[in-house]
Each structure stands twice: as C-alpha cells, then as structure tokens.
C-alpha cells in the first residue's frame, strides 16, 4: 500500500515535469498578449537539440560534468530560436498568432528530423546517451537503499528545477516591476505604451522566455525520462501543456496544479492497469482516464477561466 502511494507520487512528478515547463512557457507568452500554440514544436526541437548536443559534446570532450548542463542549455536556446520566429511573425509583422503557432508546430519536428537525419543518419532518432551523461539525479546517493523515499524523491534535477521555477515565475510576474509591466502589456497594451513601456520589447522578451522554457521541457524528456530523441517522443504533450495553462487560468501556480492533475491521473491509469490491482479493464479504457478526469474537473470545479484581455491581439502603435 505504502509502496503504491510512493509509486503514484513519484510518477506524478515525473510525468508532470515536461508539461509544466511547457505550461510555464505559455504563461509568460500569453500574459504578455501573445498566444503561443507552438509549444509542441518548441518542445520537440528542444528535445532533439538537448539529446543531440549532449551526445556530440560527449564525443568531443568526454564525460565532463558540464556536458549535460550544456545540452540542457542548448535545448533552451533551440526553443528560443523557434520562439524568435514566432515573435517576429506575431509582434513585428502582426501575423495571426494561431497560424504562426501552427507553422511552428510543423517546423519543430520537421527541423528535428531533418537535422537528425543529416547528423546521425536515419529517421532522426539520436543515439542513446549513457546514464552518466544524462541530467543528474541530485539525491541518488543519499537515497540508495531507501526504496520508498527513492521511489518518491529520486528524481532528475529537471523535476526540481521546474517546481522551483513555479515559485520564481510567480515572483517575477507578480512582485517585480518587469512582471507587472509584462502583464500590463498583455492586459492593455495601449495604456502601457502611453506610460512609456515598450510593448514590442516586452512581448519579444516574453515569447523568448516561453521558447526557452518549452525547449527545457523537451530536454527533460530526452535527457531524463529517456536517453535519446525519437520523432514520437513529444507526441502531443505540448498541447496538454497548453491545456494545463488555460486550466490553471494563466497563472504559474495554477498551471502547476493542472500539470500535477494530469500527472496523477496518468499515474493512476498505470497503477490501475498493473497486475497487482488485478482489474480486468481494457488498456484503451484506462488510457482515457486522464482526459475524462480533466473534463470532469473542468466542468465542475474550475469555473470560468478568462485570459489576459489583450491576449492574441497584435499591437499596432498609434491605432485607435
């Protein structure tokens, strides 16, 4: 019994982590008024770049401590690169933000598979990185020989990073001048502009942060949950992250609870399907659990969610 709870706890956090990176990315972008449905594409390119660059650095410099961190950082920057395209289209050229986001979602996987094919041959699956070159598990040595605590807390550093990012994001968005300006730009850009805030600049920064976080989310899949990139790796998690952000009412802490809910339902799905429980339910039905619970929670408990007022509306200086 205790073991089962520990398992569900551990799986919840493991599964929620990539989603939460993406959702936090969405929080930044959309609070500044730029809809970002390109999270999926940014996560994919991040997952690829993280795994690929770690593998290449490993070949070049051997098994140094900084290698996985460099890979993680490069993943974020790769996400930034796609985010920059999104920002140029949506902010400078005032393109339709949804259309641009869709383009990003095609571009991310396409680019990853193209580069993967060029560098490693084949269909874009990167070679497996050895355990020592994956992201670290900070409590691995302390938790050796403690199976219960190990199941719960022996997680990769990416998990701890993302949950601290929730607090940091909250602080930035609600307690700093920068954050308040960012939200002002998303609520009423004209008023912000009148007061001397550079709307374009704020939005650019927000979209780039969003890309960086999504890229990290992808890397948390390819460098922690498994040890390589493959084209099927992200498969829709960027969209779940997007849903979690809306579900969490565009707030970092809300997004966290939503991601944990997705995580716990997935853990429950696996737990209920395990032979120990002995339920004779088809796996097809079990895999619906996360979505059904989400629908129920959305209908019953969450209430109306409304985003930033100027979300999705391009800002044009001097327009009435």
């Amino acid at each position: 019994m205790l073991k089962d709870i520990a398992f569900i706890f551990g799986t919840t956090f493991m599964y929620a982590t990539p989603l939460l990176y993406g959702a936090l990315g969405g929080v930044f972008s959309e609070n500044s008024g730029v809809v970002n449905i390109g999270i999926e594409g940014m996560m994919t390119i991040g997952a690829f770049s993280g795994a690929a660059s770690t593998f290449i650095l490993l070949e070049l410099y051997g098994n140094a401590l900084w290698v996985p961190w460099a890979g993680f950082l490069i993943a974020g920057l790769a996400g930034c690169f796609l985010a920059l395209l999104h920002a140029i289209a949506c902010i400078t050229f005032r393109a339709d933000q949804v259309v641009s986001g869709i383009a990003i979602n095609f571009l991310g996987p396409g680019l990853a598979m193209f580069l993967g094919g060029r560098i490693f041959g084949g269909s874009g699956t990167t070679p497996t990185i050895p355990l020592e070159a994956k992201l670290i598990r900070p409590f691995d040595t302390i938790l050796k020989g403690k199976p219960l605590l190990g199941m719960m807390l022996n997680q990769y550093i990416s998990v701890y990073i993302v949950f601290s990012l929730v607090g940091i994001s909250w602080y930035i968005l609600y307690k700093t001048k920068f954050g308040i300006r960012l939200r002002a730009v998303g609520e009423h850009p004209k008023a912000a502009d009148t007061l001397g805030i550079n709307v374009y600049q704020m939005r650019y920064i927000a979209v780039l942060i969003s890309g960086f976080l999504s890229g990290l989310g992808g890397a948390s899949l390819s460098m922690a949950i498994i040890a390589n990139f493959r084209p099927t790796l992200v498969s829709g998690q960027g969209f779940i992250a997007l849903a979690a952000m809306i579900f969490g009412k565009w707030k970092p802490q809300g997004a966290m609870w939503a991601c944990l809910l997705f995580g716990v339902t997935t853990a429950l799905q696996i737990y209920l399907g395990s032979p120990a429980v002995g339920l004779k339910i088809s796996t097809h039905l079990l895999s619906m659990i996360p979505y059904i619970i989400t629908l129920i929670v959305l209908m019953g408990f969450v209430g109306k969610s409304s985003g930033p007022a100027a979300n999705g509306i391009p800002y044009e200086k001097g327009k009435r």
């Binding site: 493991m14 395209l85 005032r94 993967g116 269909s123 949950i225 040890a227 796996t283």
Partner: protein, 346 residues
C-alpha cells in the same frame, strides 16, 4: 501594406522550411542502378510504415534484406516511405507504376491496403510482413513470424536468471502479434522456473516512453529484476529505468543491447531481412508460393535471440537454450501463441 506582405512572405518561408525539412531526409524514391537492361532484371520495391526506412527496427531490417538481394542476386530494388496511414495506398500504387515485379508492404497496419492492391493488380506480385488473411489471392505472399519461439527463449533465460523469482512483461497494444510475444514469454519463464511470478502489463501505445518508464518503475519496485518488452518506442522508457536502477531488461525485434550495454541482457529478434531475401531468391529461381502464408520460425532462421547475449547470460544457460532450440524445431516443445492455446496446454 508592407506589413501584410511581410507576413505572407514569412509564412511562405516557414512553410517552405517544413517541406525542405521533410524532403532532405526522405528521398522519395531511390532506385539503385537506374538503367534497367531490357527488363531482364527482377525489380522489387517495398513500402515502409511510418517508421521510415532507417527506423533501426523492422523497416530497416526489411530494407537490408532487399539490399542483400541486390548485392547477391543482382535484383533491382527501391522503396517508398510512408509519412502517415493515408500514404500506404498511394505508395503501393507508385511502386506498381514503376513496374516492380514484386511489391512489399512492411507491417501489419497496411494489411488491408496490400490485399486491395493485390486484387486490383492481379498481374503483379505482392508481399506483406506480419499479416495474413483468411482468403489469400494467388499473387499475394503473406509472411508471419513465430515471435512466440524467440519470446519463449528469452523467457527461459529470464526464468533462469531471475534472483527474485519475479519477472515482468510490458506489451504495447493488445492484439494477435503482441499476444505471441506475451504467451511465448510466459511459457518460457514457467518452463525454466515454475515458481517464478510474472507481472504483465500493457501500455496501450507503442510510442509513449514515459508510460513504459512508469510501468517498469512499478514492476522493478515490486521486486521484478528482469523485464521483457514488446512495445516499440514505449520500451525505451523501460530500458532507461533498468539503467537507473541497475536491473536487467530484454529487448525486442532487433538487438537492443546498444541502448544500454550493461543492462539489456538479450533480445528477441526478428529477421525480416532473411524473409525478404529468401522470397527474392525464390522468385529469381522462378518459385512463387503466393496464396499461402509463409511462417518464419526458429527452423527457418526467422526469429532468434540476439547474438550479443553471451555477454550477460551464463554459458550453461545459453547451452540449454541451444538444446531448447533443437527441441522446438523438432516439434518436441509446443509454444502457445495466444491465451486460448496457453490455457489448453495446461
């Protein structure tokens, strides 16, 4: 006005990026030795499923078989990659238009399309891997593999090597093909060690490594020390956990020991390349067995355990495995391929 033009340009650029992105790694059709000498040469083409020709699994193996046929038999070969399910039909047609003598569909998911094509083009020969039908047209050659035999052998190894008397099985999606793996494995485990407990669970998908990971965590957590998977990419999550927890894993379809050399002790491999080569060889010699299913098992060299198994599996066990192979080939051991046969055997 300029802004709008700029937007259009940008969208155009992005879209082009997508197409070049796909085009680069995916040569639409690659016909080796283009100038055919008066159609004396046999021409064989294959359609891959969505994995593509370099998927390091199934499709790649099939393509390697054809390449061998080209090198050794002088056959002209080519392939078409499918990006999505809707492509199967078009790709089959394209290979027909290119005047191939034999057109392969690789993977049971295009079973329906291959049969339709075979009925539409009775003069052309077709083949399908991992699928068969109740009524088979004369120009269609289905090939299936006795995955239960290789699964039995890895099950035997698991049953002998477990120290906790508990082993696991992770399946992708329940169905005829994965049933062969599950029940073959189960029988092997029990054959080696009748007290051994088997934990078996399906992930419900072939492409969800995070789910494979959690299932493996739960199984290792419950005391299993060896897990076998037949779940495609989902199994990658299992291999990751085996590394972290320093437990053993068993791979599938090809030799997966490269993924984690110290933890993947063996793999149940499937030699699609042999099947592709043999059919090509027969065809060259004027033999064609269309209309009937060819079954590739141990005796035909269609399935086996990975050649790298001797790294972790003790020699005594491997020797016994060799003896078991003989018994299976001679028909002394019958291995069930689904639940009904498994129950009937007890």
């Amino acid at each position: 006005m300029f802004k709008r033009g700029g937007t259009l340009l940008l969208v155009l650029l992005l879209t082009m990026g997508i197409f070049t992105g796909c085009g680069g790694q995916q040569p639409q059709q690659k016909n080796e030795s283009e100038d055919s000498q008066e159609r004396e040469v046999l021409k064989i083409g294959m359609v891959t499923d969505v994995g593509g020709v370099y998927d390091k699994a199934f499709n790649q193996s099939a393509w390697e078989g054809l390449q061998r046929a080209r090198d050794e038999l002088g056959i002209e070969i080519g392939y078409q990659e499918s990006k999505q399910e809707a492509d199967y039909e078009d790709n089959l047609e394209r290979l027909v238009e290119q005047e191939n003598d034999l057109v392969w569909g690789v993977g049971y998911i295009m079973g329906k399309q291959v049969k339709e094509a075979a009925l539409n083009y009775p003069d052309i020969k077709f083949g399908i891997i991992d699928n068969t039908y109740d009524e088979i047209p004369k120009n269609l050659q289905p090939v299936i593999f006795k995955d239960q035999e290789s699964s039995f052998l890895v099950g035997y190894i698991a049953g002998k090597m477990t120290k906790t008397n508990k082993v696991g099985f992770i399946g992708g999606v329940k169905g005829d093909v994965i049933d062969r793996f599950e029940y073959g494995y189960m029988t092997g485990v029990k054959y080696a060690n009748s007290d051994c407990e088997l934990l078996s669970q399906y992930a419900g998908a072939f492409d969800k490594p995070a789910i494979g990971r959690s299932i493996a965590e739960s199984m290792y957590g419950k005391g299993a020390d060896i897990i076998f998977h037949a779940s495609g990419d989902t199994g990658n999550g299992m291999i990751a956990v085996a590394q972290e927890k320093n437990k053993y894993a068993i791979g599938v379809d090809r030799d997966q020991s490269k993924e984690a050399p110290d933890h993947v002790i063996t793999s149940a491999i499937k030699k699609v390349d042999n099947a592709m080569f043999n059919v090509a060889k027969d065809l060259k010699e004027g033999k064609w067995n269309g209309g009937e299913t060819i079954v590739y098992g141990l005796s035909e060299g269609g399935v086996d355990i990975a050649p790298t198994s001797d790294k972790h599996v003790p020699k005594e066990i491997l020797d016994e495995v060799e003896k078991l192979k003989k018994k299976i080939i001679d028909g002394e051991i019958k291995i069930p391929q689904n639940e009904a046969e498994y129950k009937a055997m007890k």
